[in-house]
């Protein structure tokens, strides 16, 4: 099998703090990978490094066999590498419909048009309504983002990413900050992601991770200390020490 | 050789005056992250008060300086309280507009009170005429301006590097929230540094009055120059501001001597080049 996404020996440090220490990782079509690790392990930084939002000290990133290390973030997105943000980054003055429309227009090469309006482009409108419906936020399509609930904003982040039709999707804690009552919506959305899409998801919610992932990667202090099946991860001594120990403690103390 | 020397001393005097006036702006901009275009207005107010004190009240030069510095700080207190406080943390555009508005007001009022003419601050006997340095002579007031710049730089260095206030100030510039959580009373740090900044501006306005003459449009005319110094040096960096003042003073003065017909062309060309290469200032930290 050839990998759609391949990271080789990625390194990054901030002054004395090493946040990526020789990270290598590859994903295939249809992969469902969960990237977990304690706070400050370097998970978000890993996404920033591979998407080009932050330059690595060394290492390379390849998409479907082609090296993309030299490309900027926009070019990587156009090649199908799409991310979401740990804290939503949306345009507070715009509506969900406008967000998704902008993504569709961008993907289809029409975002530079200086005339017309997406409301008058049937194909865009169809995709917008479909995309919002798939995540159950079609009823608020025309509310300003600043006026909708945070859980719905998280769903919009996912809708936005999907509207770019990625090959590889990197989700940074898609359920973070969402009230318990709404996480099921997000989980449904995750379950409904296209089959051929390679997905890497960061999350701290172990239940969610175990239901979603077919493979778990554990990052601690910038180093991958485990890469295997969900069944094995709980048995691994190093992981338990680095992560699940804390997690179990945190859980029992609640 | 004669030209090189006089260009050099002029550049140094000009650069030092710029430094005395804008160093306060640099520190407060680094500290409060507020773009303040009204700083020059305080230098101008200082100049006006000193001129009034010497010309109308007949006070001595030293007393006039003291009076002007204190007076300007007193004028600045309500402005800081009621106007500036409301724009800390606001978008840049808001800060720009508020401080431009303030500048316009000060210009209008200064003209109403003092009239549109140039105001002079008569120098004391000792600062008039040339001083013989043995091999060359130099205008005493320029020497005085240079000395003031050196003293201010030295005093600030001591204040910031050697005192406990300096530690608090540096911590607050670095990360105000962190400093506050470590027990630094940032409000007091802000208030003191604002007062020092305004006082230094007033002082610089008086000392530099021979080079930057006091008139109502002063606040607008040099607004840009002071802002450029901060940007080129890097907000919050004292050595940066010093370097920026010396470099910009040298470029401006040399340009005026050698190619006067180009006006400030080379000055602004240099500004663009420097800012493009060092967007955070020559010695500024990455934000």
């Amino acid at each position: 099998m050839n990998a759609v996404f391949q990271v080789n020996n990625l390194n990054k440090s901030f002054g004395g703090l090493t946040v990526a220490n020789g990270i290598s990782l590859s994903m295939e079509q249809g992969d469902r990978v969960a990237l977990i690790g304690p706070n400050g392990a370097g998970k978000t930084t890993f996404i920033n490094l591979v998407t080009g939002h932050m330059p690595p000290d060394s290492g390379s990133v390849a998409l479907r066999g082609a090296d993309i290390t030299r490309l900027g973030p926009t070019a990587r997105v156009r090649k199908g590498l799409v991310r979401s943000f740990q804290v939503t980054r949306l345009f507070s003055d715009m509506t969900p419909a406008e967000h998704v429309a902008l993504a569709v227009l961008q993907r289809t090469g029409r975002s530079g048009r200086v005339f017309g309006n997406f409301g008058a482009m049937p194909d865009v409108m169809a995709e917008v309504s479909e995309g919002l419906k798939a995540l159950g936020i079609d009823h608020i399509a025309n509310h300003k983002v600043s006026e909708i609930a945070y859980g719905q904003q998280r769903l919009l982040e996912i809708a936005l990413a999907l509207a770019l039709k990625p090959n590889v999707l990197l989700l940074d804690e898609p359920a973070a900050g969402v009230p318990q009552s709404d996480t099921s919506r997000i989980e449904e959305a995750l379950a409904g992601l296209p089959d051929d899409l390679a997905v890497l998801m960061i999350d701290h919610d172990m239940d969610l991770v175990f239901r979603f992932a077919r493979r778990v990667v554990v990052l601690a202090a910038g180093t991958i200390i485990f890469d295997g099946t969900p069944q094995d991860v709980a048995k691994d001594a190093r992981v338990r020490e680095a992560y699940l120990g804390n997690y179990a403690n945190a859980r029992s103390s609640v | 050789m004669q030209t090189v020397f006089s260009v050099g001393t002029d550049a140094l005097a000009y650069g030092m005056v710029l430094f005395v006036i804008s160093i306060g702006l640099s520190v407060t901009m680094g500290l409060m992250r507020v773009v303040n275009l009204a700083h020059g207005a305080f230098a101008m107010i200082g100049g006006y008060i000193a001129s009034y004190a010497t010309q109308i009240l007949g006070l001595g030069y030293g007393v006039a300086i003291l009076l002007a510095v204190v007076g300007t700080i007193l004028i600045a207190i309500p402005i800081e309280r009621f106007l500036f406080r409301r724009i800390y943390g606001a978008p840049e555009l808001t800060q720009v507009l508020m401080t431009i508005g303030l500048t316009f007001c000060v210009i209008g009022i200064a003209n109403y009170v003092f009239g549109p003419t140039l105001k002079t601050i008569p120098l004391p006997e000792t600062l008039r005429g040339p001083v013989d340095l043995g091999f060359r002579s130099i205008a005493a007031h320029k020497l005085f301006a240079i000395a003031c710049g050196i003293v201010v730089a030295g005093a600030l260095w001591v204040l910031i590097d050697k005192t406990s206030f300096g530690v608090k100030l540096r911590a607050s510039v670095d990360n105000a929230a962190m400093a506050a959580s470590l027990g630094v009373r940032t409000k007091i740090v802000y208030a003191v540094s604002s007062a020092v900044a305004v006082g230094l501006a007033a002082f610089g306005g008086i000392v530099g009055a021979e080079l930057l003459p006091i008139e109502p449009y002063y606040a607008l005319r040099y607004m840009v120059t002071f802002l450029v110094v901060v940007s080129v040096g890097g907000a919050g960096s004292i050595p940066g501001a010093l370097v920026a003042c010396l470099v910009l003073g040298a470029i401006d003065t040399t340009g005026r001597y050698l190619v006067p017909e180009y006006g400030e062309f080379f000055f602004y060309l240099a500004v663009i080049a420097i800012v493009c290469v060092f967007p955070n200032g020559i010695l500024g930290r990455r934000s």
């Binding site: 509506t95 429309a101 | 303030l102 210009i107």
Partner: protein
Amino acid sequence: MAIQRAIAAEGKVDAGPNWLLRDLMGLAAVLAVAGIGYLLFPNNLALLTRITAIALLVLSLDLVTGYCGIATLGHAALFGSGAYAAGIAAVHFDITDPFAMAAVGAVGGAAAGLLAGAIMLRGRGLAQLVLSIAIVYLFHETANKASNWTGGSDGLAGISPDPVFGIFGFDLWGRTAYVFGIAILAVVFVLLRLLVRSPFGMLCRGIREDPVRVSAMGASVNGTLLRMYAISGAVAGLGGALNAISTQVVGLDSLSFTTSAEALVMLVVGGTGSLFGALVGTLTFMWFEDFVSAINPFHWLTIIGALLIAVVLFAPNGLYGTATQLLHRVWNKR
């Protein structure tokens, strides 16, 4: 596809015939105000034409500041470049057809916009602001030095545009210039309404709010901004050309920091991020200025300063923005 219809019907995304109506009403309002001005001040058409030219500058500034979120104190560089381009074309190259001069002005402004934009995008925050100021001074000093071409500090005189369509000469009363100017403003206004609603306009609004998000959507931030700078330059350049055509001279003040700062003040007084706001701000400021500065130019500065502080503190959305907010509130109460 009920939802599709729902989106289209709700007007918020401006997808229905709603916006068309608003555009036409806006255009009608512009033309009505222009007509009233003509009737009320037939002896002051020169001022009205100047207001029209400055309105183009402020609209152009709104594109960059209001829609893309770039604070600039150097936008007159684009306006002045258009003015000088049109003036030089007329004086040195005998291009005296008013439409051709306007076109040259637009091209000159767009070129200046590209240059200014390319420099401005090197910095952020304070650095960007300082770059904008340095640019307008650099343009000013260049025009001053190149006096063979620009007339230097005496201004570029001797511009005599041909009659419009070969029929309507630029007379002493400035009637032709005024109508010519209003026609340009009306066309530009309609085009800009289309622009800000287009996908490109939406992208710019996105960049204003969060450039990182836009780049994560695969759109080029700097490319988009540069393009907007060129468009903005063309609009400002048209304003400059109009000023050159109507006054028949181009002065260094058209390239000044003061003009830049005033344009920004006008925009903020009217309300950023709205084309109507730009027009309202220009009209209010210029009319007020003419009125007050006739009495005492320094009082004018004090008043505009106080007004600016008041707007920043109490009406951050500007006159137009605050007025529409109040209207909405009254409307919703009923």
